[in-house]
Symmetry: C2
Subunit: 403 residues, 2 copies
């Protein structure tokens, strides 16, 4: 393969060997030809209903006309220049207006840039070192957030990391007791939407308990909304679950695929952020700011999360019904706009992976062990077609593995 010669492992990220098995290796294509709305075409011209949405960024549909027009207009004026365009201020103001916990905004390029900034700012603010994570988390690729057994990570990178179980009140209480006065930050995704497991919503009162402990102990509460952001609540996924973060991280859906991320936070963290030496070559590019403004404005006008959750619920119901018809125990977990699929009958994962592969072969782009994403361009007809294809795929797998 051409790619293998010039790119380490031919491809990287979710399709790469380090994170293998998210996607059905035999059934699915590695490269794409074009994209439009909710569809993706592979190099052979096969069309897919794409439920990965570029792993999140595609929230309004590929080539959303309003976002693309705003971006093109800004591009004709300026993009990456020596001094930022005032679109940066407009975008910050819009986020402050939209996001519940936001008194300010800081822009970068990756989710990882802003999760790292949040952790550094929490350490600067508290003069403490320890960070609490929820097991099953993903907060990017910087050494501090990787696992000790991952390639290139040394023990010093992660020696102040404390790992607690999601929804475990007692463990969190114990950790705050044991490391009293030492915990700089708790960082968590709004709910457990990790890979290789059913996604788990917060238990009743869990986030409120976390919030209370952080406030009492002077610990900074960081919500990583990179993946879930704007699919649950435009005011932030913390707002959706009825609490308020001290800082919240956005990327992906922030500008419908234009390359920008944002850290937002409360007034009391503004000085810590201002004191940091933290910047990047392209962080003031104006085109992604213009795209982000158009994206947020359109999402607000549509009250988009409500629509995406409705679409997701319709799909969830259809898939569960189709599974039942062929006696499969399909778990559709997480918030429906960000659903995770698992056939629970078979711990070997084989039945599940076969079913996903049969869906992909028929034009529904699901992945094996990663959550999926709903976008606004996904129509009722697309959902009906998806359910019908899923039904066929269940039928094929059941024929192969009769009860």
């Amino acid at each position: 393969m051409r790619a293998c010669r010039v790119i380490p492992s031919g491809i990287y990220g979710h399709q790469g060997p380090a994170e293998g098995c998210y996607v059905p290796i035999e059934a699915f294509p590695l490269y794409s030809q074009k994209a439009e709305g909710t569809y993706l075409w592979d190099l052979d011209g096969n069309k897919f209903i794409d439920y990965m949405c570029a792993y999140g960024p595609n929230i309004l549909g590929y080539h959303d006309p309003d976002v693309d027009a705003a971006a093109a207009k800004q591009r004709a004026i300026s993009d990456c220049t020596t001094l930022p365009n005032t679109k940066m201020i407009d975008f910050a103001e819009l986020l402050v207006e939209t996001v519940a916990c936001a008194d300010w905004a800081f822009f970068a390029k990756n989710g990882n840039d802003v999760t790292t900034l949040a952790i550094m700012a929490a350490r600067a603010h508290t003069h403490r070192k320890k960070i609490v994570f929820f097991k099953g988390y993903y907060h990017g690729v910087s050494p501090w957030t990787q696992k000790i057994d991952y390639a290139g990570v040394i023990e010093e990178d992660v020696m102040h990391n404390i790992y607690v179980e999601w929804n475990n009140f007692t463990q969190l209480e114990e950790v705050f007791e044991k490391y009293k006065g030492e915990i700089a930050a708790v960082i968590g995704q709004p709910y457990m939407h990790g890979n290789f497991m059913d996604n788990i919503l917060p238990a009743e009162g869990f986030w409120q308990f976390v919030r209370k402990k952080c406030t009492e102990e002077g610990t900074v509460l960081v919500v990583d909304d990179v993946r879930a952001g704007f699919r649950l609540d435009l005011a932030g996924s913390d707002h959706y679950f009825g609490f308020e973060a001290d800082m919240i991280c956005f990327c992906k859906a922030l500008a419908n695929g234009y390359n920008v991320s944002a850290l937002c936070g409360k007034e009391f963290m503004k000085n810590a952020i201002s004191s940091m030496s933290y910047t990047g070559s392209y962080w003031m590019s104006a085109v992604p700011f213009a795209a982000g403004i158009a994206c947020i404005e359109k999402m607000k006008k549509l009250d988009l999360p409500k629509i995406l959750i409705e679409k997701g619920t319709k799909l969830k119901n259809g898939l569960e019904e189709a599974a039942k018809e062929f006696s499969f125990d399909l778990h559709v977990t997480g918030v429906p706009s960000l659903f995770y699929l698992r056939i629970a009958d078979d711990p070997s994962l084989k039945l599940h992976q076969e079913w996903i592969a049969e869906c992909v072969k028929r034009g529904v782009f699901f992945t094996n062990h990663h959550n999926h994403f709903i976008n606004y361009a996904l129509s009722d007809e697309d959902i009906a077609e998806t359910v019908e294809i899923a039904r066929e795929a269940f039928s094929v797998v059941r024929d192969r593995h009769p009860l």
Copy 2:
């Protein structure tokens, strides 16, 4: 100011308070209105000949028609999608063809993403922890590359960092002796183009000495070409100085401002890179790949670094002559396509800062204590106008501070 309400410190990066004093605070504007070719306009409509080039990305001129056309063509097809477009392979092949030490390429968004990947890969490959830096370096904003006294940095982030003086053969020799078998990587910019100091080219044989020591000790040699890349040599700045890096980091000028960075390296590092868990939301966006391909192809066709060095040399000669006329000892250091300015008469920096401010007021955008950048759109007329303005500025400062 509106920006201060919603953005920590109103602005960040080189204009922000953490890195204050690179730019002449009273004289210069904070935000821009538009950009074209080699020019930038502030919010009041004042036009500047922009020698910062977006701190590097602008290498062909803002709105280069060839790069913009290639990007627009790709945007109509796809940008950030679930599966990468084959433009990623084309871009990797072009870099392998162009860059002397490149057997492969890996793409990300920031220079910082690829310097961090290089360091992690060096640690993964060598199973060692220590990293050698040259004092005065800048390799991004990740904790491992920041200074211990910077906000948000903890001692564990930098405890394996070893700092040696640039061009100091003895110190490097001693460090390799003292930490025998422990040094994972040496990372350096192609020459010392740090801030607040005259830039320093490599001493005769210095890089060859570094290369020899790294090879002997099994240490990975990483060149950070984020700032200098493509302004010295399209084959890499290591090639310009007559040696070969094991890995080289590009960003900034790689795609004339479109948001992409790249790590290239030798075959023996490919497995280490493949083994890492390292990705980002937008890292496979196709538009910056198309822009990067068009940018590199145009730079190759023009043999661009030669042209930029010629333009820079013309400017350097003009500025030195103008300084002499008013009895200022102006140092123009570094490679002329990436020149650093310093009036050496006055250790308080006051004369220098006054002169820069007078240039900015008259429409030449210089900064106080950061290197400058030449781009292809800068014409002979622009250079002549710059020299004339610099002359006036020298005259004003000399009137104010007579000999």
